[in-house]
């Protein structure tokens, strides 16, 4: 019968008319966000960072700029290089996460935010001060140790650098082995 298909279709739309809406009104309500979400405002732990610039090398766009200088004063913080500049140009970032994947010391994490609108382009460049002072809410993307703790960046406490690491890095011990100790160790082993 002609028109039956249309009637059937109207039944479907009628059913959806009385169904609970599946949209949400965004600023008031928020969609649930998975802890692996790759978002802006990278979380960076200076204590874990050695300034090796692996992240800058692996960035497909080359938007990470790192300037370091040799520092022997802070062995407790675990690095022989101090970070002067750590700029991430969020305006050109595509949040692929390759920098996070490249980081061998688990110092860089994706963030979990997505509401970053600025009036000027230069405000989109994240500087090292901002990375230092920002609230540490790392995404669990490519960080299985955070997933093992069931860490959710949207809820719960900010993560400390000790908790975020895969393993306690030997360089973060309060006293670094001296050069003599290291050489004797090496000689002791055949």
């Amino acid at each position: 019968m002609y028109g039956l298909g249309i009637l059937n279709g109207f039944m479907v739309t009628l059913k959806n008319f009385i169904r609970r809406p599946f949209t949400i009104s965004y600023p008031e309500q928020r969609a649930p966000q998975h802890p692996r979400f790759r978002g802006e405002e990278f979380t960076w732990y200076e204590e874990r960072c050695t300034g090796c610039a692996s992240c800058a090398k692996f960035c497909p766009l080359g938007i990470i700029r790192i300037v370091t200088h040799p520092s022997q004063e802070t062995p407790a913080e675990g690095d022989s290089y101090a970070i002067d500049v750590f700029d991430i140009d969020i305006g050109r970032c595509m949040f692929c996460g390759l920098c996070v994947e490249a980081c061998p010391y688990d110092a860089l994490f994706m963030g979990s935010g997505f509401e970053e609108a600025k009036y000027r382009r230069q405000d989109l460049v994240i500087s090292v001060e901002r990375l230092r002072t920002a609230e540490k809410r790392p995404s669990t993307w490519y960080r299985p140790q955070l997933e093992a703790q069931n860490y959710d960046p949207r809820r719960g406490e900010p993560m400390t650098w000790q908790g975020a690491g895969r393993e306690p890095w030997p360089y973060h011990l309060p006293l670094r082995p001296t050069t003599e100790e290291m050489t004797t160790d090496r000689e002791a082993k055949p």
Binding site: G5, N8, F22, H34, R36, C96, L98, P144
Partner: protein, 367 residues
């Protein structure tokens, strides 16, 4: 008294270059009937093939996300398969299963997009599109669990996937697999027998098998003509040899068959995902591949059955960390070349529907 008339050439499109699909058709009309049609490409050209030559093999994965941006997963898959062929890497079992699950979910999402926009072009404004987007949203949620992104996924790596699926992925996937068939039934009830849709699409813009083969058309457009050609069957890659599924075929090769075949393929994709979920076993997801892949000198071509057709990547390596040549065989581009054959003799209103039924993606056409 007969009116004196002469053909008129009209430009359909392009819109502003920053819109998502910039496509121009130069059509010669006699009244409303199309005499000639010439597609003009290139408005979205971004030079992906050249850009890839100065990026490492891992970094190129992010470029492939942006080719067909409604089916990033299958682009990733085709590219990493070509890389693995080039480098001689065998991904672990679990990695392959995860890839197939992700790729089939992406196929459903892409077909949902295609169906929704085809109906949108037909004049069923927004209602079927919103229904399709509702389910696509759930697939994107699953992708967010898997890889933290919704569109530009970058999920796969040379030698597997970057990380195992989180624990909450599997229950969510099971719920989705349980509910999705009902939603597909709903589309069928809403659309497949709708008299307006049938009248507008049945017998319109028929593509014969010969025309399709002559134009190297692949994917649902070819299968709608009745030619059984699915690379998952004829050239099984990854774990497609171990799962059972049918290849839906059309008969007439008209717009209705192209629409219907996508709905049927969604059901088959669900079947594949269900079997993969049963067969998948714990284990590593990524082969031991160095961060900087340096394949030996040589070349490799790898092809998969993407949602839109045969998606191939041709890679030439000179032994360095970046591909020497990176060539994309994109299905949208090749499927568009038969547009002229399909359009001649039909009217302007059918042109929009035919374009929607090919399911092109301009990001892939222009690269």
């Amino acid at each position: 008294m007969p009116m004196r008339s002469e053909p008129v050439t009209v430009n359909v499109g392009p819109q502003h270059p920053s819109t998502h699909g910039v496509f121009r058709l130069r059509i010669t009309f006699d009244g409303e009937v199309i005499l000639d049609a010439e597609p003009v490409f290139g408005y979205l050209h971004r030079g992906s093939e050249k850009l890839a030559e100065e990026r490492t093999y891992t970094q190129v994965i992010t470029l492939t996300d942006r080719l067909d941006y409604v089916a990033s997963m299958t682009n990733n898959q085709a590219y990493v398969l070509a890389c693995e062929k080039l480098a001689g890497v065998q991904p672990p079992e679990r990695g392959m299963y995860l890839r197939v699950i992700a790729a089939e979910l992406q196929r459903i999402a892409s077909h949902l997009m295609a169906t929704g926009f085809l109906l949108n072009d037909l004049g069923a404004f927004a209602t079927p599109l919103m229904y399709c987007f509702r389910e696509r949203e759930r697939i994107l949620d699953l992708f967010e669990m898997l890889c933290g992104a919704r569109i530009t996924l970058s999920y796969m790596r040379v030698g597997g996937v970057f990380q195992d699926a989180p624990e909450e992925f599997w229950p969510a996937l099971r719920i989705f697999l349980g509910e999705m068939p009902h939603y597909i039934d709903e589309y069928e009830r809403l659309l497949s027998e709708n008299e307006i849709l049938v009248t507008r699409t049945k017998g319109v813009s028929v593509l014969t098998v010969d025309q399709a083969l002559n134009g190297s058309v692949t994917g649902p457009v070819l299968r709608a003509t009745g030619f059984p050609w699915d690379l998952r069957k004829v050239d099984p890659y990854e774990v497609y040899g171990r799962v059972k599924f049918d290849v839906p075929l059309g008969r007439a090769g008209d717009n209705y068959d192209r629409f219907k075949i996508r709905i049927d393929e969604m059901r088959q994709s669900l079947r594949i995902v269900e079997q993969c979920v049963e067969q998948i076993e714990p284990g590593p997801v990524r082969a031991d591949v160095p961060a900087l892949v340096r394949p030996p000198v040589g070349d490799a071509y790898s092809r998969i059955e993407g949602p839109k057709g045969e998606l191939g990547f041709y890679l030439v390596s000179d032994g360095s960390v970046a591909p020497y040549r990176f060539k994309i065989r994109s299905p949208s581009f090749i499927n568009l070349t038969v547009l002229r054959d399909m359009l001649i003799g039909w009217k302007l209103a059918d042109m929009i529907v035919t374009l929607g039924s090919i399911d092109i993606n301009m990001g892939e056409v222009d690269r």
